[in-house]
Structure formats: C-alpha cells, structure tokens
Symmetry: C2
Subunit: 203 residues, 2 copies
Amino acid sequence: MAEKAPLEFYFDFSSPYGYFAAAKIDDLAAGGDRGVIWRPILLGVVFQTTGAVPLTHMAEPKASYFKHDWERLGRQMDVPFKLPSRFPIPTQAAARAFYWLDDKNPELARLFAKAAFHAFFAEDIDISNPETVADIAAGLHVKKEELLAAIADPKIKQRLKDENEAAIEKGVFGSPFIFVDGEGFWGCDRMWMVKKWMKGIGW
Amino acid sequence: MAEKAPLEFYFDFSSPYGYFAAAKIDDLAAGGDRGVIWRPILLGVVFQTTGAVPLTHMAEPKASYFKHDWERLGRQMDVPFKLPSRFPIPTQAAARAFYWLDDKNPELARLFAKAAFHAFFAEDIDISNPETVADIAAGLHVKKEELLAAIADPKIKQRLKDENEAAIEKGVFGSPFIFVDGEGFWGCDRMWMVKKWMKGIGW
C-alpha cells in the first residue's frame, strides 16, 4: 500500500489562527496516519492577490471581535495566548530561518517553528528581529552566527519568495491553510473538516 | 434554579453558512438545555457598517473557495445544498414573514424559516418574491392573503428595520452569529465553541 501523503500546512508566523492550528496540526495528521509538511508564508504578499487586510486593521466591530476571539480560543483550546504588544509584525526572518533549517532537518525546523510561535504569542517576544530569531534557534543548539548568515543569504531570500509564489498558485489566501490530498481548507476552525476529509467523508 | 437563557441565532436567509447553522442550532442548544431565539437580518444593511461584501463578490480565489466549501460542507454535514441560480438575493419578504409569524407563534416561525432555507438552498427556489414566500407559508397552513398583506404592512417593515439595528448594536457583523449569555460567535464553524461556552469552558 502506498504511504498516505502528508498534510501541507501553510501559515504566517504573525497569524494567531496559524498559531492555534500549529498547536494541533501534528496530532490531527497523526490521527489519519499522516505526517505534516510545514510551510511558512508571508501574508502581506499573499494578501496582495485578494486585497485582504490584517484582521486587526478591519473595521469595527470586527477588529475587536478577533482580538477577543483569540483570547477565548486560547482558553478553550488550552493554548497560551497573549496579544503581542506589536502586532502584526514582519516575519521574513523567522520564515527564512525555517526554510534553512528545513533543508537540513525538517524535524528541527518544526521545533523551531513551534518555539518561534510560542515566543511571539505566549511570551510577547518580537520575532521580527533576526537576532531574536537566532536566539530562539540557539535554544535548539543551532549555531547563532550560522543562522544569521543563512537568513541574509540571497539564496534563502529567493527560496521564501518561491514558496510564497507556489502557495499563491496553489490557492492559498489566508493563514492557516491546510491541504489534504490537494483539497484546501482555510482556518483553524476547519480542522474537523480535514479530519473527515482524511476519512473520505465529503469527497 | 433560574432557567437558562436561550441562544440567540442571527442569520440572513441568503447566507449559506446561516443555512448550515440553522440545520444544527436547535440540537446544539438542546444539548445545553437551552432553546433558540431565531432572528433573521439583512446582511446588506449589516455590511454597511464594516464595508464587507458578499462572499461570492470577493476577489478570486476566495469567491470560488466559498462556493466549493458550501458544496463539500453540505456533504460533510449531511445537509442538501445546491448553489442557487440567483445568488445572493434580497430577503426582506422572508424576514418580514418570519417576524409576523414569530409574533403569533415562534414555533411556526421556526418551521417557516427552515422551509424557506430549504426551498432556497436545496431546491433552488428564488425566495426573494413575496408570492413564493407566501406559498412556503401556505404549506404550513398559513393563509396566503393574510401573509401577503402582513409583509406589505409598514409596521412589519419597521419591525425588520428595528431588528437589524438591534443586531448591529449587539455587535452582529455576519451570518450566522450566535449569542450565548451575551457572548457572540461568528460562523457555522464555531458551533463547537458555543457548545464549550454553554458548559463554562473558556469563560
């Protein structure tokens, strides 16, 4: 029997709903005997396609609704959440670091992604700064200077651009966006649909 | 012990996600020993507050995503769904008929709402027409001429305007919108949160 294809998990490191999905995606996939390919993207670039704006920039009462929703979602999902003092933030440094690590060791990259999300959304640490990103990676025994050199490398910058373009071509327009066998689901509140889809329900 | 407050369920008769929520809201509430107050609104009016547009008017790939999502959601939820030939439609006639019936008999109004939703989203019957709305009500033994006179009455027109304004003041900005003890949840994919909230999880 052919192995089942992994889920593809697209997210921006500055996306609260991406953070909540990240806390559950591996367990969700494991329940369907699948792995997960993590793919950070830049929502700022993706939003250019549809003209979307960050949730906290939306007209009231929407902006306030989302802020409130993240707080209660954190409590209901048992995932620590505190709206960061600076939000949203540019996430190029974190995303580039991820892809550099991912090419060496996908498991290490995933640990880094979870640590970066936790730093930003649970500890209010601004992860837009390359130094901060390197410190987080250093906690996973990655050499800080190597990582700083890597994320300044034009090759890794191009890599992130390519990943963004590939995501947009695949139909990604928000975060999180999860694909199972090519079928895309938008939002952390659609994980129940992904679960059903993995079982063939709704095909 | 005081009785538990009913859920308040806001929806537009032209909202697919409102339709899906309508199919499950009574069972959801019953699971928490609660009833449901149904409240049709006009999204066209509500959207003026936030500048929102109907989902099928959004930039691609969003519009196509939503159309596809409704089809598969119908299959996953076991709720018949076919994108109506004309969509979205004005729903004043259906909403006015609802409030006129609701003042006489809330249970009858709820049956009417379910029948109107079914006609539009399962049978592709355009329910923007007062005659069609009256035919649906006639199926529930409501006198057609009485209903047609009622929904042309300035009093019931004002009633719908008042309900819309009250919804906007309460913070409603989309459909469905569900309140449990004053806490608002947007979207048919948030019913699991409503369920937890009824149990006190996340307060």
